[in-house]
Amino acid sequence: MSRRALSTLYSGGRRVLHSSMSWRKIGQFQSARCYADNFDEEVEELRVQQIADQEIPPPADDTVHEVLNIKAFGYDCTLVEHFAQYTHNLSKNMSLSVFDSYALPAKATLVHAIQGTGLKEKDRIKDYTLTTYQRVIQIQDLPSKRASLLLDLLQLNLPEGVSFTITLHTQEHYKERFIRKEIPDSLL
C-alpha cells in the first residue's frame, strides 16, 4: 500500500495535506479516531424513516417549463375544491399534461386574543379555529407560449376567498406530504 493510501486510512478517510509527511508524524496527529463533521446529523437522520427522492422528470426541451405546482388554498373547502377541479379541467382542455393532483392536509389555525382577566365572560373575545384547505395540481411541460394565457385564465376565474400560487416543484414539496415516522431505538 502506498504511503498516501495508508495516511488516508489512518486519518479516517480525510486526507490532511502537510508539506512534509512522514510515517511517524501521521501516527502522532491521528491518535484519536476522527469521524466526519456531520456525524451527529447522520445519526439523527437514521432515527427517522428516510423517504427516497422522487423522480421529477426534466423538461422535454427548451421551450417548456419544468414541473409546476399550482396550489389553491382558502378557508372554504368547497370553493377550493371546485377551483382545483376547474384548473384540472382547464389544463386538460388546453392539452397540458397534468403530472399529479393531490390534497395537502388541512391546517388548523387557532385565533386567540390576549385579554385582561377583568372582563366578564360575555364580553370576552372567544377563541376560534380557522382551517385552511389546500389542493395542488402539478403541470408538466407547460409551453411558454401558453403560460401567460393559463395564468390569465386562472386569475380571472378565481372565486372570492380562494388564492393560488404557482411554484416549481422541488423534493421538499414532495417530502412534506409524508408524515414523519420515528424508528424506535430498539430497531436501530
Binding site: 366578564k120 360575555k122 372567544k126 411558454s144 407560449k145 401567460s148 395564468l151 385564465l153 380571472l156 372570492e160
Partner: protein, 295 residues
C-alpha cells in the same frame, strides 16, 4: 453548360459544379450570362424588398379586477339553489350540535330534571348567545361600495374605476404627424432582448418606484406590423416597424407619467372601451390577447 433550367438556383448549382470540375481556376464567369431577373431572386440588389423592419416592444399593463362580477338573474337563482342543496345535504357542524345540546339542557333544567351543578351560577354562555353576539357584530360591519367615486365621476385616469373589470393602460403619443392612443411602446436597442426592451420602455414612461409591475413570460403575446409611408421609408431606411407586445400585471401603485417623455395623456380603459380610442387594425390585434373578464 448554360442550359435552360426552370429554376435559376439549379442552374447556378450546375454551373458551380462544372466550374469545380475545371482544373483549379473558378473562371465560370466568362461562360455564363445571368439575366437580371434571375439574379434578383437570390442577390440583394433591390431596395424596397429587403429594407429591414424596425423592432419595437409594446407593453400591455393590466389592472386585474378587484371584485367579482355581479351575477345576472339566472346566476343568482342557480347560486341560491346550489346553496340550498349544499345546506340540506350537509352534516351538522360543531356549533349546531352545541346549540341543540344547550337547548335540551335548558329544557331539562326548566322541568327540574337536571340538578344544579356546582359553580353553575347561570352566567354560562350558551352557543345561542355566541351566535347572537356574532350576528350583532356582523350587522355593524359595512362593506365598501362596489361603485367607487371614480365610477361616478367617470374619471378615466383613476385606477379605482370599474373594480369588476380589467383595466388596460393607454397613452397618447405623437406618431409622425398624428397623435394616437396606443399601448406604451419603444424601439429595441442593440443587444437587448425584446422583453428587456419592454421593461425599459415601461420604466421610461413612469416615475421610478411608483408602479410595481410583474411581466408575464418571456414570449410576446401579439405583434402588430406598421408599414411606413414611402418618404419616411427613405428617410429612416426601414420598411416599417414590428411591435411585439408583452403582458404585465399591475401589482401595486399607479401610473405617474414622467413630464419629459413624449406622452401627452394616459388613460386606464376597459376592453369594451378600447374600440373608441384605437384605430381599427391596432384595436383588433390588441383585443386578441386581452382576455375579457366574462365571456
Amino acid at each position: 453548360m448554360a442550359a435552360h433550367y426552370r429554376f435559376p438556383y439549379l442552374r447556378i448549382l450546375a454551373l458551380t459544379q462544372s466550374a469545380y470540375k475545371m482544373k483549379g481556376s473558378l473562371c465560370f464567369k466568362n461562360n455564363l450570362v445571368f439575366p437580371k431577373h434571375q439574379i434578383c431572386r437570390f442577390c440583394s440588389s433591390s431596395d424596397t424588398e429587403t429594407r429591414p423592419w424596425q423592432l419595437m416592444s409594446g407593453v400591455c399593463v393590466e389592472r386585474y379586477p378587484v371584485i367579482s362580477q355581479t351575477h345576472n338573474s339566472i346566476e343568482e337563482e342557480f347560486k341560491e339553489m346550489c346553496n340550498m342543496v349544499e345546506f340540506e345535504s350537509s352534516v351538522l357542524s360543531d356549533h349546531e350540535i352545541q346549540v341543540r345540546k344547550d337547548r335540551d339542557r335548558m329544557k331539562k333544567r326548566k322541568e327540574g330534571e337536571l340538578e344544579e351543578e356546582a359553580g353553575d351560577d347561570g352566567e354560562v354562555m350558551t352557543a345561542l348567545d355566541l351566535e347572537d353576539i356574532a350576528l350583532e357584530k356582523l350587522k355593524q360591519f359595512q362593506a365598501a361600495p362596489r361603485e367607487t367615486s371614480a365610477d361616478q365621476e367617470n374619471d378615466t385616469k383613476s385606477i379605482n374605476r370599474k373594480l369588476a373589470d380589467k383595466l388596460v393602460l393607454l397613452v397618447k403619443e405623437k406618431i409622425g404627424d398624428k397623435t394616437l392612443w396606443i399601448l406604451p411602446q419603444g424601439y429595441r436597442d442593440t443587444g437587448e432582448s425584446m422583453r428587456e426592451a419592454a421593461e425599459r420602455v415601461l420604466n421610461a414612461c413612469t416615475i421610478e418606484n411608483r408602479m410595481k409591475v410583474k411581466f408575464v413570460g418571456n414570449a410576446p403575446v401579439g405583434v402588430y406590423k406598421y408599414k411606413y409611408p414611402e418618404d419616411i421609408q427613405h428617410k429612416i431606411g426601414a420598411q416599417g416597424a414590428k411591435i411585439f407586445f408583452f403582458k404585465a400585471k399591475l401589482m401595486q401603485g399607479d401610473f405617474m407619467q414622467r413630464p419629459d417623455v413624449g406622452i401627452s395623456e394616459y388613460k386606464w380603459v376597459t376592453r369594451e372601451e378600447l374600440d373608441s380610442h384605437l384605430i381599427k387594425g391596432y384595436s383588433d390585434t390588441i383585443k386578441s390577447f386581452i382576455l375579457p373578464v366574462s365571456l
